[in-house]
């Protein structure tokens, strides 16, 4: 079966532009996570969905960050008015319900804001 896929793999945005990053989880995985990985750092939690419900968005760094998962499968992370500090790799992971100890990661999207 297919793993977690993310698109685009690379995104270059000019400061102030809006971007949308897509995550397609493993089929049947109702839990979905977004993480942000700054250069030289470990990933940090952004937000968590169970099906279409966003149960935790405590890690989103500002109100410019918005995530959705309207049909409980594909998720989109949107960043409005991008800033240079938003430059990072954005990782998506999915898991079966309750199995948070077994998260499968996608290849990530590297966002560079110029």
């Amino acid at each position: 079966g297919a793993g977690v896929s993310q698109s685009p793999r690379y995104k270059v945005a000019k400061r102030g532009q809006d971007v949308a990053l897509r995550c397609d989880p493993i089929s049947g995985h109702v839990s979905l996570f977004w993480y942000q990985q700054a250069l030289g750092q470990g990933p940090e939690f952004l937000t968590y969905f169970q099906n279409e419900a966003q149960l935790d968005k405590s890690g989103l760094p500002s109100d410019r960050f918005f995530a959705e998962r309207p049909e409980g499968s594909v998720s989109t992370l949107k960043i409005q008015r991008t800033q240079q500090e938003d430059s990072a790799v954005y990782l998506c992971a999915s898991s079966r319900p309750g199995q948070y100890y077994e998260q499968y990661f996608g290849p990530g999207t590297r966002l560079t804001v110029t």
Partner: protein, 113 residues
Amino acid sequence: AQTVTQSQPEMSVQEAETVTLSCTYDTSESDYYLFWYKQPPSRQMILVIRQEAYKQQNATENRFSVNFQKAAKSFSLKISDSQLGDAAMYFCAYVGSGYALNFGKGTSLLVTP
């Protein structure tokens, strides 16, 4: 809050030799999971090994094994018979009663021929 500390920014090992990567964590929970993830330049986060805190026996996966010291809150990864393909960033991670993985800052492993 749980914190994960990896004190070795970079490690080097010769091919076929053994290397140990260190990790300590801080938690007040009694039930949790610990992980080692490998991240090659492709950025894909790959699970290397997982340890359940309630299990006293150290986890082993082929050439990879851990030394889990619960009282000391220590969780080191031993790679035996190192191969060139083992070169990557290695992250130690924790998940407890929550669901978000808490990662350390990583250790870059270099493997020399």
